[in-house]
Amino acid sequence: MNDKNKIVIGLIIFVAIVTFPFWYNLGKASSAPEPKLSEKAKVAKECVVPKEIMKQEHMQILDLWRDTVVRDANRVYKTGKGKTFNMSLSTGEDSCMGCHESKAEFCDKCHNYASVDPYCWDCHIAPKEKKPEAGGE
């Protein structure tokens, strides 16, 4: 047991290196983002389904909708409450982006945080982002 000192020093270094990521990032964790609702969406209050379901299942809903629209040519969605929507991601007033007007504030907020990169916008044209400082236009 002559190498006690060496072993202890080695152990300390080892533990320090292993735990480095933990204490290095301590307190730096960013909070989960909140997608910012557009004024229009705030006024409308309700989406095609309740917010909680939308949060979890919007991708499945969009997938289902694209088949309904492209294959069955059904383009109008009527909620249980009787409100109708245009089943489209990016075209028209009552489409998804017709209400959620900003891709950056709504879609990207969470998608970037969760590091998901859906390819919707390779083809669909995102609404023009309104610059906050440019008023009037």
Binding site: V49, V70, A73, N74, V76, K78, G80, C123, I125
Partner: protein
């Protein structure tokens, strides 16, 4: 001794029962009775144009030069965000112009009259009755709708180009490169495509759905008519019965739905 053990247990038991059933009763109260909401429904627009089998008649007598066709081609390509790529091998075309000997290959001969020889013909997807492209597609990205329109689901296209090999009319184009930089003016009402997918005329399915006629019909000043081939009373059937019409390569058996009055 007002309280016996027996009466204490009775009261405790009833209380426990009451506390235990409250949440259950709450659930019943909220789910049943007044709160029944009708299920969401999907449907077509009220103003939709429908047909049993869509078809098109192109009256070539009303066209004299390529300039007559340009506005039609432009209207279609503009609405559908079709890029204008200068490189000929990468060109994307939904509707374009060609000459008789290429369009009606089986009818061409050297002594054909001059008018026909130099007449520009509009060509597009023929929305065949038995589309070869649909059989060739391995992902069912291209399919035939019940109303006869041969449509593409760009989401599903994997770019294998089997459909292009199968189509006897060359109606399909492949995006060899990202088309976006080549679109002069984006139409926000219609998506673009991405690199690696095939595209073609969609018979303006998105316009028929909202009660608008195809863009080429609107731009043609009556030279192009669409309608229901299965309806004997329709305008298109009237045109077909009162004029001699030809189709492209009918002997292949694909059953093209685009007719030409020559």
């Amino acid at each position: 001794m007002g309280n016996s053990r027996r009466s204490f247990l009775k009261v405790a038991g009833i209380t426990a029962l009451g506390i235990g059933t409250k949440p259950v009763l709450d659930v019943f109260a909220s789910s049943g009775g007044h709160g029944v909401e009708p299920k969401p429904e999907v449907s077509k627009n009220v103003e939709v144009f429908t047909a049993k089998r869509w078809g098109m008649v192109i009256d070539t007598r009303k066209f004299h030069s390529a300039e007559d066709l340009d506005p039609i081609i432009e209207a279609c390509h503009k609405i559908h965000n079709v890029p204008e790529i200068p490189e000929p091998r990468h060109k994307i075309m939904w509707i374009w112009e060609d000459e008789y000997k290429h369009v009606f290959t089986h009818r061409e001969h050297e002594l054909i009259n001059d008018r026909i020889k130099h007449l520009p013909f509009l060509v597009l997807c023929n929305h065949c009755e038995k589309p070869a492209c649909v059989r060739a597609c391995p992902t069912k990205a291209t399919f035939k709708r019940d109303d006869g329109i041969v449509l593409m689901d760009f989401h599903r296209c994997i770019g294998c180009r089997f459909c292009m090999a199968a189509c006897p009319y060359g109606s399909r184009s492949f995006n060899f490169r990202d088309p976006r930089p080549f679109i002069k003016e984006e139409n926000k009402e219609f998506p673009t495509r991405m690199k690696g997918v095939v595209e073609k005329c969609n018979f303006c399915a998105e316009r028929l759905a909202v009660g608008k006629l195809p863009a080429c019909v609107e731009a043609s000043n009556g030279a192009i008519v669409v309608g229901d081939l299965d309806d004997p009373e329709s305008e298109i059937r009237d045109l077909l019965s009162s004029n001699y019409t030809i189709r492209r390569k009918p002997d292949l058996g694909a059953g093209p739905s685009v007719f030409y009055i020559v």
